[in-house]
């Protein structure tokens, strides 16, 4: 049952969330739902990132008494992905916010949240 350990489960879940997000993004016609799809996609990526950085049985990457300084590299989970995730979350937030702003503006212009109403530019 090696495969059903924590990081693999979270990895699979992460990928599933990514796919669900993509599915939502591609199939929903409501702008808000599309953005939710994107948020799921983003979150999925974050989960994947964290699970990649996880080291089995590792502890939080804080150098305190719980960790032997000499063996820190093996005892803690990799701190970098966690740092990256933080940044990624911030950026994701920014993007989501911007998307919502866009939707707001679009709704003000056309009073519609239907994505098919915004196909004027094409070809």
């Amino acid at each position: 049952m090696e495969k059903f350990n924590l990081e693999n489960i979270s990895l699979v879940i992460g990928i599933l969330v990514i796919l669900i997000g993509l599915w939502g993004l591609l199939t929903q016609k409501n702008l808000i739902k599309i953005i939710i799809g994107f948020a799921l996609f983003d979150t999925g990526i974050h989960i994947v990132m964290v699970s990649i950085g996880y080291i089995k049985n590792g502890t939080a990457p804080i150098l305190d008494n719980a960790v032997d300084i000499n063996n820190a590299a093996n005892a803690v989970v990799d701190p970098v992905p966690q740092a990256l995730v933080l940044t990624a979350i911030v950026i994701g937030l920014g993007i989501t916010a911007l998307m919502l702003t866009y939707v707001l503006k679009m709704y003000q212009k056309r009073k519609s949240l239907e994505i098919n109403n915004y196909n004027d530019l094409k070809w």
Binding site: I18, I52, V80, L84, I95, Y118, D120, L121
Partner: protein, 1045 residues
């Protein structure tokens, strides 16, 4: 020196502090922002300067005092400096350009603007892959932030598509980055490179994800609908930034990433690149919306860059030179065009006709368009040249062909657009006014293109000998364009004359003959320019450009010089042609055939260069393989200028619609460039065949058919200048035939016919031009009876047509006689029969020309027409004098030409005994014939005069008219459809199969483009789907057969 880190510091600081300014203080904020942008530009420029002039080492900047991978590191090397300079200059000028918009939107927009450029700067400098991601995101968000500030619904929905697409792409990138980190355990690019991820099972996928994400940022075809919408809808200033600055940054990122992928990545980049280049340009064909068209072009150019990067393994150390040449041309030209589009304010490209209200704007636009297509003297020209040479050297023929095809398609829509700008219909044009802040950036970039172009030519080893003096002269003429015609005309004539004088001693052989045709012809035709009054704006620089090109051809020793001159000539003649009335479509087809032909020549030179170290034209003499193909490519390329059958459809319209004194230039002189090219080619390459199929025999047939078709079409024209134009087509058919004979007499015929054609076609075009100037129509049937009004012009035309028809005693017969002997020598009888058939058909149009214009019935409106102006007549009579001398003393023309040909073909040369020429078959004494014919003529005339000296002069309606009398000159002048029975009998031969063919090709391609572009249905979700499909497809391609990219 100011450290690069200050770029970030300044940008961030400015962005934050801008927040403190009140909205009211917008001007101050703008100045503050501008200061920051200037400072950023200054830093990058300073570093660039240091790298260029001093032995500056590449430096690494470590943040937080740690070495990587424990900190984010930035790198400032030469390339970084270059890219940063480009980006920051674009940024600075964009800021100036967008002053209105920034002022209107206030500090928020300025903040976003500065942040965007900070993002791009860091993206270029950073060596940390996650940092790269972060700042790419910042740039994307900032871009979207800029777009959202626009009011229009379209811009906002485009921005929404943009942000959705970039978000997905960055998601992919993020996954890639984390996966790479998983395998490489570092985010520092240098470490990642060292860990050779491509050879690890999952690592390859990780790297692939990063690579594909970066590529997707570059908007590859077809996953680029989101970007196109932004280009179309957003403010042109934003378009500029996305197209010039962001793309440059991401291209640089790609070059950073590629070492991680390893060698195999190049292949996939190359494929993506070429597909993008071809696909995007193809779809560009159907665009009428300016900014979207620019978008397609941008993406196409980026595709070309990707291709070049992908071809790095073959281009070797030239890659940088080539890629940078393309990039800088693209960045400057595209920025310039986007900015111009903001000034003109026309959504539709047809509305660009408004631009010609300000000719200087037109010059700017032309600069950008020609730079994009890769004309000299712009960097893209040299880059393209190097690219083709290297590809040929590495035997990448398919790549070479695809790149040329893509470039050609790009030329099609760009020149169509330019054509609308110069000559489009003059209705409902948008008003525009030029603001200083908007025009200055454009001017700076245009000048930059020239400067960098010049700089580039010094970098190209073989371009060092390029002659820029004529180009300086052109510049001088442009500078004095405000002066009246007669001053500029005199200066131009003096310039040409002086140049001829200086180079004359160095000329020999064919160069001398053609130099005389080009330059003496130039002087003669320019004499007619004194006819014009006023300023004739823009005319003289263009004329000189054409002549500079022609001169360059003569002086060229290397293939590059030759090609450079060829392109310069093309530009000049294109503008001359498009100056004419209703010349838009003709100029376009001229340009397209010229560009197509030029690419064939380029390909030919490229193939000829295989295995050669020098670029001398003499490499053609010992090519290392592909000889028949090289020959065919070059010959067809040159034949686009001689307008051989199949490639002739540009000619009639182009020549017919040109101004009176331009027609002789483009018809009598320019076409000879093709002949000159063929001579240069044939002298060096000699006999060529595909297996047992003799190419020259095919050329002879092409010449013969061209002659028949040209002459027959001439006979069926109603338009006098069109008739003359087709006559040129036919006559150059003879020349081609003569050259193809590859014998002394054949060449003697071809060269002497070229000289003669130059003379009589100048004569006729000037004469007819004079008539057209007076009667204001070109339709021959609307004229008639002008002999009594314009007797001097009539004499010119009379002599001209006697020469054309080859009737003794005038000099045209000499050509016919030599051709006969040449044919008998060679033994190609069937094409010869066709050639002589064509010669007789020439009678038809000759007669028609003189009859319908000068004879027959004078029209009401023309009863007070005056003789053509003196300055039109003067060159005609100079030429007439020369023709008479050559007629009476043929050896004064033929003997020198014969001596020139002698070293190459000595068999069957003519023997001269005084004016008696003796060949293997016959003999001919031009002087004696002149005397005999003259003598008989005088005697008979004296007899007639004696018998009928007091004949009653009557007027035009005094004709025996079946007891009735004519009532109107229009109904009595038999002129329209003059050869109706002939048309009935043989008209089917000239049914427009060829133009139909080209039209079908063109329409077919446009239809395909129209079908394909339907994939961009305007829905963000579709675009995301494209992105995902793109990834999947290229994943399959990359990992399809084997493991690893």
């Amino acid at each position: 020196m100011v450290g690069p880190i200050y770029i970030i510091a300044v940008a961030l600081g400015t962005a934050f502090s801008l927040g403190f300014f009140k909205k009211a203080n917008v001007k101050f904020s703008f100045a503050f922002m501008l200061l920051a942008m200037t400072f950023m530009t200054f830093i990058s420029g300073q570093w660039l300067y240091a790298f260029l002039t001093q032995q500056q080492e590449t430096i690494q900047i470590f943040t937080a005092g740690f070495k990587p991978p424990f900190s984010i590191s930035l790198q400032m090397g030469f390339y970084e400096a270059v890219f940063l300079s480009i980006i920051n200059i674009v940024g600075l000028l964009s800021a100036i350009y967008m002053y209105d918009k920034l002022k209107e939107k206030g500090v928020q927009m300025m903040m976003v603007f500065v942040l965007l450029f900070m993002g791009l700067n860091v993206v270029v400098m950073t060596r940390d892959i996650f940092n790269l991601f972060v700042f790419l995101e910042i740039a994307s968000i900032a871009t979207a932030g800029l777009i959202i500030l626009d009011k229009s619904a379209n811009a906002i929905s485009a921005g929404f598509k943009y942000i959705i697409a970039t978000a997905i792409i960055s998601g992919i990138l993020l996954i890639g980055i984390i996966a790479v980190y998983y395998y490489a355990e570092s985010l520092y690019i240098n470490d990642i490179i060292n860990s050779n991820l491509s050879f690890i099972k999952g690592g390859a996928v990780a790297v692939f994800l990063i690579l594909i994400a970066i590529v997707l940022e570059l908007k590859p075809f077809p996953a680029n609908g989101w970007a196109l919408d932004v280009y179309e809808a957003a403010h042109p200033g934003i378009g500029t930034i996305v197209s010039a600055a962001s793309a440059s940054a991401v291209i640089f990122v790609l070059t950073k990433i590629l070492p991680i992928v390893g060698e195999s990545g190049y292949y996939i980049i190359g494929i993506i690149g070429i597909i993008t280049f071809l696909g995007s340009n193809l779809l560009g064909l159907k665009q009428n919306t300016t900014n979207r068209l620019l978008g397609y072009s941008s993406i196409g150019q980026i595709g070309l860059l990707l291709t070049i990067i992908g071809l790095t393994p073959y281009l070797g150390d030239k890659t940088l030179f080539i890629a940078f040449g393309v990039l800088i041309s693209h960045a400057l030209a595209k920025a310039g065009l986007f900015w111009l589009s903001g000034i003109i304010n026309s959504k539709n490209i047809k509305g660009w006709a408004a631009i010609r209200r300000n000719p200087h704007l037109l010059v700017l636009m032309g600069t950008f368009i020609f730079a994009l297509v890769g004309f000299p003297p712009f960097p893209s020209f040299f880059a393209k040249w190097e690219l083709i040479m290297q590809l040929a050297n590495n035997d990448k023929i398919i790549w070479l062909a695809l790149i040329l095809i893509g470039s050609f398609i790009e030329g099609v829509y760009l020149f169509r657009w330019f054509g609308y700008a110069i000559k489009g219909e003059n209705q409902d044009l948008p008003e525009f006014k030029i603001q200083w802040n908007k025009i200055i950036p454009v001017i700076i970039f245009a000048l930059g293109l020239y400067a960098i172009g010049y700089y580039y030519s010094t970098l190209t080893g073989s371009a060092a000998s390029l002659n820029y003096i004529p180009l300086l002269f052109i510049l001088f003429l442009y500078a004095i364009d405000f002066l009246p015609v007669y001053i500029k005309n005199t200066i131009s004539i003096a310039g040409i004359g002086y140049y001829l004088y200086t180079i004359y001693p160095g000329l020999e052989e064919f160069n001398l003959i053609f130099a005389l045709i080009f330059l003496a012809g130039g002087i003669l035709t320019l004499l007619a320019g004194y006819t014009y009054k006023g300023k004739r704006q823009g005319f003289y620089p263009l004329v000189m450009m054409m002549f500079a090109g022609l001169l360059g051809l003569i002086e060229a020793n290397t293939t590059l010089e030759f090609f450079f001159a060829w392109e310069i000539m093309t530009i000049g003649s294109y503008f001359l042609i498009i100056r004419g009335k209703k010349s838009m479509t003709h100029a376009l087809s001229y340009m397209l055939f010229s560009v197509g032909g030029a690419y064939l020549i380029l390909a030919g030179f490229g193939l000829a260069h295989i295995g050669q170290s020098s670029y001398s034209l003499d490499i053609l003499a010992n090519v290392q393989g592909y000889a028949p193909i090289i020959f065919t490519l070059l010959a067809v390329g040159f034949m686009t200028k001689t307008a051989s059958i199949g490639l002739h459809i540009w000619l009639p319209g182009a020549h017919a619609e040109a101004e009176s004194d331009v027609s002789p230039m483009v018809s009598a002189i320019l076409l000879k460039a093709g002949v000159f090219g063929l001579i240069v080619l044939m002298l060096r390459m000699g006999a060529q065949s595909f297996g047992s199929f003799d190419i020259y025999y095919a050329l002879a047939w092409i010449g013969a058919i061209t002659a028949i078709m040209g002459n027959m079409m001439a006979a069926f024209q109603e338009d006098a200048k069109r008739l003359l134009a087709y006559s040129s087509v036919g006559f150059l058919g003879y020349a081609l035939f003569g050259l193809a004979l590859m014998s002394h007499l054949g060449w003697l015929a071809a060269v002497s016919l070229s000289v003669i054609h130059f003379m009589f076609k100048t004569l006729l075009f000037l004469a007819i031009g004079g008539v057209v100037m007076r009667v204001k129509t070109k339709e021959m049937y609307k004229m008639g009876g002008l002999i009594k009004k314009m007797p001097f012009t009539f004499i010119s035309v009379l002599m001209g047509i006697i020469v054309i028809s080859g009737v003794p005693p005038l000099t045209g017969f000499g050509g016919k006689w030599i051709l006969y002997n040449a044919v008998l020598d060679k033994g190609w009888f069937l094409p010869a029969g066709a050639i002589f058939f064509a010669g007789i058909i020439a009678f038809l149009y000759c007669f028609r020309l003189i009859h319908t214009i000068f004879l027959g019935q004078l029209k009401d409106e023309h009863r007070e027409v005056k003789e053509a102006p003196f300055w039109m007549l003067l060159p005609q009579y100079i030429i007439l004098g020369v023709i008479m001398i050559f007629s009476a003393f043929p050896n004064s023309l033929l003997k020198p030409i014969g001596e020139v040909i002698m070293p190459y073909f000595s068999d069957g040369a003519l023997e001269w005994q005084g004016q008696l020429a003796v060949s293997n078959f016959g003999y001919w004494n031009g002087e004696l014939i002149m005397y005999i014919v003259g003598g008989i003529f005088v005697i008979v005339f004296a007899w007639l005069w004696f018998m009928n000296r007091n004949a009653q002069k009557v007027k035009q309606f005094n004709i025996g008219y079946s007891a009735e009398r004519p009532s109107l000159p229009e109904t009595t002048h038999f002129a329209y459809n003059f050869f109706a029975p002939y048309k009935k009998a043989l008209g089917f031969l000239v049914s427009p199969i060829i133009s139909d063919f080209w039209e079908a090709v063109s329409e077919g391609i446009h239809a395909i483009a129209d079908k394909i572009r339907r994939i961009y249905d305007g829905n963000a979700q579709t675009y995301v789907l494209h992105i995902i499909a793109f990834i999947v497809i290229f994943y399959l391609i990359a990992f399809g057969g084997s493991y690893g990219i």
